[in-house]
Symmetry: C2
Subunit: 279 residues, 2 copies
């Protein structure tokens, strides 16, 4: 099927039932590099707030020919997660995924697509989180789309950071992370990575996101993951597995912070325009 | 319930349905330290032969009070896996677990319990593997048991090894391995490990077994995992996560080999009396 933004915008939600188990919560934590007992041992287990990005995830939908997307060329551009109730470590959950906006950047650039996922607890029907993903469809511009412009990025203060946290990724980080559901071969297959213009497989943007989420949980909420309630950012450059992520954090008032992350080895900003809320 | 060997011997088999998925096969491979694409990427994925030890595994049964076993004191003593048909990477399988022998070593020593598990493919009913586990119930001797003696260990030749392979474990190896089903807290909880007499959590015997299985696949069958058809050994000493495993291998004729594994850091034999078959 040819790529048709209007068809995506009017499509019904993709409903995904998700049985969350302690095993899955631990696997997610391992995938983003957490090794603290509270994230990897079922006795006293807590969920990382960024786990919202995998709950109810409908899979790597872009590879489905029904969407008509040049899937080898997509890039994850932005992510926003809001938590309304601390994520559980087990239970029956439901994801409802919608294409809420597609901004055409022209045939030579591509289309910016905002995919919203609401996560509900099937036990009581409550909305517990939203996970909004902005994907850049680099091979599919020039087909029109939504009116208006994407939301402006959060500004990073022009002063030294208040806190900083440096965390490592491992060379096999993507191999582990993908078991949480994003099987895009770009993150494991050298041939696919090369065809997409990378020298080797890159880390999932959402894996970097989870690693940086751990940095925020350490710096902002004293390792109490249930107190981090929002995390937004822009993915400005790919991370290779094994690189070190240094996150700078600016407190912006009661329960609000900005953040930005660099790869230490290349002194390159990889997550930018970060915004977090905490209680 | 009090520990009663005769009751275990006459118990019906524990039947365990097991849905094998590519994700599980990959998770097992990661848990035993494999990172080669053929073991961690669904495109061309192959099963490690030692994965038989987790297929249809009924869980850490000893913690169930119904068995009356002092579960904190058990040690995995021996393992034997025989593969009759290359293990698949997905499908519906069934495990049938029986207590086939309990040898009483006296009240001060404990009881050696042989647990046999047959693994069937539900698609055609074929027996595809057996996984026999010998567990030493150190806190439960003096209650009688089976007649006779346990099978003699395989002798290691008194000459230099023909091949050797050295593989590392990672400090978090047990945290990853346990996601394949053996949740015994001895392998993650410092307090439980201390109560059992160890300075810190030890690696699962079956995790070491899987790592050594990789060494055999490299040395004996040129990285073709489907050609390793049997692997037996005795666990002679615990391994701590992060230690390096050096396996010596002796060819004993067409398709047969002996092996023994030492922890390099402590120059200590940890897997002994190893016997492998290959085609």
């Amino acid at each position: 099927m040819a790529f048709d933004p209007q068809k995506l915008l009017s499509a019904p939600p993709i409903v995904t039932r998700y049985t969350l188990t302690e095993n899955k919560a631990i696997l997610y934590a391992l995938g983003v590099g957490a090794r603290e007992l509270q994230f990897v041992y079922e006795d006293g287990l807590k969920a990382l707030p960024t786990m919202g990005v995998v709950i109810g995830y409908p899979g790597f939908i872009w590879r489905d020919p029904a969407y008509g997307v040049n899937w080898q060329k997509i890039l994850h551009a932005e992510q926003s997660t809001q938590i309304f109730r601390p994520l559980p470590v087990k239970g029956e959950l439901r994801g409802e995924t919608r294409f809420v906006a597609l901004y055409d950047k022209g045939a030579d650039k591509g289309t910016l697509c905002i995919v919203e996922r609401k996560i509900f607890d099937e036990a009581d029907g409550a909305l517990i989180a939203t996970a909004n993903q902005t994907t850049f469809l680099r091979g599919d511009g020039g087909h029109g789309g939504s009116e208006g412009s994407p939301p402006a990025p959060h500004a990073i203060p022009d002063r030294p950071a208040d806190k900083s946290v440096t965390l490592e990724s491992s060379w096999d980080q993507a191999i582990l992370y993908r078991l949480s559901g994003d099987l895009n071969p770009l993150h494991i297959d050298p041939a696919v990575a090369k065809a997409a213009g990378f020298e080797k497989p890159i880390l999932h943007g959402l894996c970097s996101y989870g690693i940086v989420g751990r940095a925020l949980v350490q710096a902002l909420v004293d390792n109490n993951p249930e107190r981090l309630t929002r995390m937004d950012c822009r993915f400005s450059s790919p991370v290779y597995p094994g690189e070190t992520l240094a996150t700078e954090i600016w407190i912006e008032g009661e329960g609000k912070a900005a953040f930005r992350t660099k790869v230490v080895e290349r002194d390159l900003v990889v997550l930018n325009n970060g915004y977090a809320e905490f209680i």
